[in-house]
Symmetry: C2
């Protein structure tokens, strides 16, 4: 198994990324290799400084990096030697089994669609994020930013993508699917959700339980929560700001602690032909470690084959 | 001044509404009368039980009520003797200067548009809610549910409605206006926000400061935050669920305390020809009191005339 990691992505790269890779490596077996993509000399230096053996990792030299503010499509095209471009090249060629980066989200999205491509039958890939549930565990919210505007037909697909991820990666049996909406009743909503509701209800492959409102996202009501990427992105960032505030104010609580993005390892892009994970820009070594471990779990779960079969 | 209050609206009506009216009355001068609309006998009984003088209030008997789950348009049409229908009748006839209810939101919206009508020039009225700011004070978010789907041209109008309310009711000088969006840059967004952005920038009557993301709603960045009613409603309910959680978990903090809907008196419908306020369904006497006091402030501020002039 080869787990690809962009060591130049994220606000605290490459120090945080290399340190995270070292932390992750201690939980991997010998045949599970992390492939460090980025400036090779820097990577080795950090590893030696940490008193670790550089031979434990694989390296692919990519000296260039794509900045957070760069235009995704342009950057991918114009910077073939960037760690993100090189990562997707390797992923496409099968030289790595997954690719993760805490860098430019748009570049990760464009890169994945251009290189490993969208799985046949999937209209548009979606970015999924985990949502802590009040009682315990996590649910999944998607899309949180890949598709600002959605067609109604995309929402049941997001429901299925999320369900497969919930089942095979999170181990949730027969996950429930809810449509994020502004009322409980079927006749509530905007044009998108009104059109999507019957499609979701009639989709025999998801366990659709109806609408869920903004106040119910953390309830047990639905394991998979589906919305367009605009609503999902606003929700994600709003929830994050609450978490940051509770931390700043010194509130300690197991539920709020589960909002900590360091613990869950990033947001997978679901619906492309390989495991691809986007990390939070401010990823710490701990967050990078968990992103590598989530990559491993995604590879082991064979989630991509399961999605391919479901959409075939 | 006649402040209309539906005493049959809300989960804890009529006890909470009448008690709230009593609390409010203690802060009103003699020429500021609360008009209690609903079952007259019940109202008087509660007032006497509280040891207060029933003569301090005006009464309009309306024995029927519109339930929370009822279809707004049907209920308004079929229940002329309901407290909400009667309230709007009085408002239309100028017998009350404002109307507030913690009852069926849809019925309040439909009732206001059918009775006092939309202000000429306003495309669609919007429901505004206040948003606590981390440093201090409040901002305004609109629309939070009147218009699930919006045309781009509606968003600068919401910005102007919110600005006038912020200025004349909240006393914020030259309020800043932000567009709720999924990125800072002008080229980020969905079809609606992409089209609305230039319209807002070019609108000389609002102090537009650009996009604000989900994580920035509580920052000082914008006093008035504009979005479609779908996004606003999801945001409102999500934020509320966070507040409820912090309370359940016993967190005490001045910022989180400012989320308490009891304190701010409900959500005005902006863009109709009279002050109309919708209270939270679970309104306590304290919440009702503040809804009555907000009604008074809206009447005193002459906000409706100011909106009419701005849209003329």
């Amino acid at each position: 198994m080869k787990i690809g990691l962009d060591i130049l992505g994220g606000d605290f790269a490459p120090e945080a990324t290399v340190k995270g890779a070292i932390l992750a490596s201690k939980q991997l077996s010998e045949d599970q290799k992390i492939v460090l993509i980025g400036d090779q000399a820097i990577a080795k230096r950090y590893i030696e400084q940490a008193g670790e053996n550089p031979a434990f990792f694989d390296y692919v030299h990519a000296p260039d990096s794509i900045g957070m503010g760069e235009h995704p499509t342009k950057a991918i095209a114009q910077k073939p030697d960037s760690s993100i471009s090189r990562g997707f090249q390797l992923l496409k060629e099968g030289k790595i089994d997954s690719f993760a980066s805490a860098g430019n989200t748009g570049a990760m999205l464009v890169g994945s669609v251009l290189s490993v491509k969208t799985i046949p039958g999937v209209m548009r890939p979606a970015i999924a994020t985990n949502v802590p549930k009040i009682k315990s565990g996590f649910g999944i919210l998607l899309d949180v930013g890949a598709n600002a505007d959605c067609k109604p037909e995309m929402l049941p697909q997001f429901g299925l993508l999320g369900s497969l991820f919930a089942e095979h990666v999170y181990g949730i049996t027969n996950p429930t699917v809810g449509l994020v909406n502004i009322g409980e009743e079927e006749e509530k909503g905007n044009a998108l959700t009104l059109a999507a509701y019957p499609l979701m209800r009639e989709n025999g492959r998801i366990n659709f339980i109806g609408n869920i409102e903004g106040r119910e996202l953390f309830d047990e009501k639905a394991d998979v929560m589906v919305c367009d990427g605009f609503v999902g992105n606003v929700v994600l960032k709003l929830a994050e700001s609450f978490y940051v505030l509770t931390r700043k104010k010194g509130f300690q609580d197991p539920f709020f602690d589960r909002f900590n993005y360091e613990q869950y390892g990033g947001s997978p892009i679901l619906g492309v032909n390989a495991p691809v994970i986007i990390g939070h820009g401010i990823s710490s070594p701990e967050a990078i470690k968990n992103m590598v471990l989530l990559s491993k779990t995604m590879i082991e779960s064979d989630i991509i084959e399961k999605i391919k079969r479901a959409f075939n």
